[in-house]
Symmetry: C2
Subunit: 238 residues, 2 copies
């Protein structure tokens, strides 16, 4: 039985955290909205499908796994982590990885809001002044706080965020680091000397065979200015 992933077809977005886990697991899955529209893909079909699912999801990504219909990125990863050995099997370890993933949830929301601080349904151009002010605060305080936090964890334990074995939280740190490097290259270059372990972890994830094959495949959508991590030069700075 192949998993069905339902997510926006043109962006990495929150769905990418799920895609990375599915790829590292070597799981059989269909990225439903990315098949041709003639075969049921596309955004309009996605919205129709989401409305028909039960229990109803609030928003994509949604993973259909047999009788399970799961939404919320961290919730989907909690499920996949247990199924595919991408999380510790003991309760404390499982909760720790979930806790880390929820911190990525917070980081991702804040990284999105630097370009959309007023409303997700207004254009960037119509909230640019607020975006610039938000981005300054994010670069000065939040970015070093978040990445410094993961760095501290790796300093005290490691080599992975949950210790000896790779988990989906490591995949998510990779994705967050690459996204932030795309969106805010100057800020990330300035921060690099203080987050060496986090950057090295991202490199190790990128070199894992299944992830490397995925990243080189057409299945990996490029970062772009419709996603969470957007490169607007006026929001960046050292």
């Amino acid at each position: 039985m192949a998993y069905e992933l339902h997510y926006w077809p043109g962006i990495q977005g929150r769905g990418e955290f799920v895609r990375l886990a599915l790829e590292e697991a070597g799981a059989d899955y269909v990225d439903v909205a990315r098949v041709p529209a003639s075969e049921g893909g596309g955004e309009r079909a996605l919205l129709q499908k989401l409305r028909a699912l039960a229990p109803p999801p609030f928003a994509p990504p949604v993973l259909v796994a047999g009788e399970f219909v799961l939404a919320q990125t961290a919730n989907i990863l909690l499920f996949l982590g247990a199924r595919h050995g991408l999380a510790p099997t003991d309760e404390a370890g499982r909760l720790w990885v979930n806790q880390l993933q929820l911190t990525f949830t917070d980081l991702v929301k804040e990284a999105h809001d630097i370009h959309h601080p007023i409303s997700g349904s207004l254009y960037y151009e119509d909230q640019k002044d607020a975006a610039k002010a938000n981005a300054v605060a994010f670069r000065r305080e939040r970015l070093p706080k978040y990445l410094g936090y993961f760095e501290r964890i790796l300093e005290s334990a490691g080599p992975w965020l949950a210790g000896e074995a790779v988990s989906y939280a490591d995949l998510s740190l990779f994705q967050a680091v690459r996204g932030l490097q795309y969106a805010l290259p100057q800020a990330m270059a300035a921060l690099a000397p203080r987050i060496g372990r986090a950057l090295a972890l991202a490199d190790r994830i990128e070199a894992r065979p299944k992830i490397a094959r995925y990243l080189a495949s057409p299945r990996r959508i490029a970062f772009n200015e419709a996603g969470i991590f957007r490169h607007y030069p006026e929001l960046d700075g050292a």
Copy 2:
């Protein structure tokens, strides 16, 4: 063994979702930062204690439960829900309640950001124009979308969000409804005819004996303008 809850002593905040679960469970717990400073309470002691915990939390609330040191509200509730019968015991039910709680996480962040859209470390007065614009979008689109979503779930199943038995997601819906009614009374009054089931659920939670006792006790901090749900009349509107 009493649980230790570590959270800001002067606000309901995200900690309140944990407090409600502990109270409904009848659990023995100490709200550490709220004991007198002479006995180790207060904000400064809280910050010192958080720095000493392992694994390190990114931010409060933190629950210490014997050897477990848990952060992230939804993660703490996942743990307490299983321990105290506040979530279904089957995997699908447990994940569904977690999924709902993560939707409350999103709602709470957006409800906070209507008064702090630029940065949590700037004063409200210094981001008031952006706050007004954010609040308009929140009231018009996000508030009806979130509460309409929970209403739809209750319409198709109920009487509780996970069906026949109360769960921590119901406690969270109560808290979100009361917080939004405090912050945005006009907007919530205008929405009331369309969310009758959600409002009735909040009333039923409020009338549960342990919750009613808690709400009448000095342990319940009043809503105030240092918390997530703040009543700034200029942000409200029908």
